[in-house]
Symmetry: C2
Subunit: 159 residues, 2 copies
């Protein structure tokens, strides 16, 4: 048999941090500096969905308020208290709580309004031709033919 | 806006148990009686991947040793100590540890050799035309055109 490309299992917190902090252009990029991600699924070579162990420091946010056109998403809180902000209302997420966001559903983001870190798992699929709508910001995103995110203003001008 | 079909978030442990214990035919079905699952992703209407909160009582197993032809899988242990058994060796998974199984990779199962329950999240995508290989049991599985699992003996005879 081929040698294993990585160990059979790992402590999630010991997977290296993702080097790229965010794909967003400024002024949105800087809002993501209180967030870090460990790409757990990628560590094991998974391709059809991603699983990240994400940490939000106090004041941090998971992403801009957004909804995907094709991607389903899911979050499960491991530690701390996050606030799930949506265009249908807000709710506190404590350890052991979860939420899911079907493609085209509620716009959402997690924010950390507490004084301690929040640690959660986030899962998203890898649908081709996905797009993202940002209801509160002058930003639009789409996946290009190479699977790279392209960000523009809402009127289509590049950033 | 349309009314929300379910709450924005939920305590994972309060999602109802899946009624169907296992799709396996006997004598394999009975081996799954020490396992229960809460379909968290389905609760939120997700379609491209599933997220289950799964509990193994002492002596329980997650599944027969298997590998998927197309589906990527991932597990994250929340509570207790599971043993990950694979065709490349075994390793203990404690809370905060994770493992991923790329389609066509190592055959695997989780077993609970401890004296306490094990609680973990399991994630799998929903690739059409998936199949499952069971290296140690006279069983083969494939998804039919309606997305239902069909189990046969390895020589193709039905169960």
């Amino acid at each position: 048999m081929e040698p294993l490309k990585c160990s059979l299992a790992i402590e999630a917190a010991s997977v290296p941090l993702r080097r790229k902090i965010s794909n967003y252009p400024e002024p949105f990029f800087s809002r993501m500096l209180k967030r870090d991600k460990r790409a757990l699924g990628e560590f094991f070579g998974l391709k059809t969905f991603g699983v990240n162990l994400t940490r939000l420091a106090p004041g941090g946010e998971s992403a801009l308020m957004h909804r995907h056109g094709k991607q389903d998403e899911f979050v499960y809180v491991i530690e701390g208290v996050a606030t799930l902000v949506t265009d249908r209302g807000e709710v506190e997420l404590r350890a052991g709580m979860c939420s899911g966001f079907a493609a085209g559903g509620v716009a959402h983001q997690l924010v950390n309004r507490s004084g301690a870190d929040v640690l959660y798992l986030e899962i998203g699929d890898r649908q081709r031709g996905d797009s993202v709508e940002y209801p509160y910001d002058d930003l639009a995103a789409g996946l290009d033919a190479d699977g790279q995110w392209v960000f523009t203003h809402k009127d289509g001008r590049p950033y």
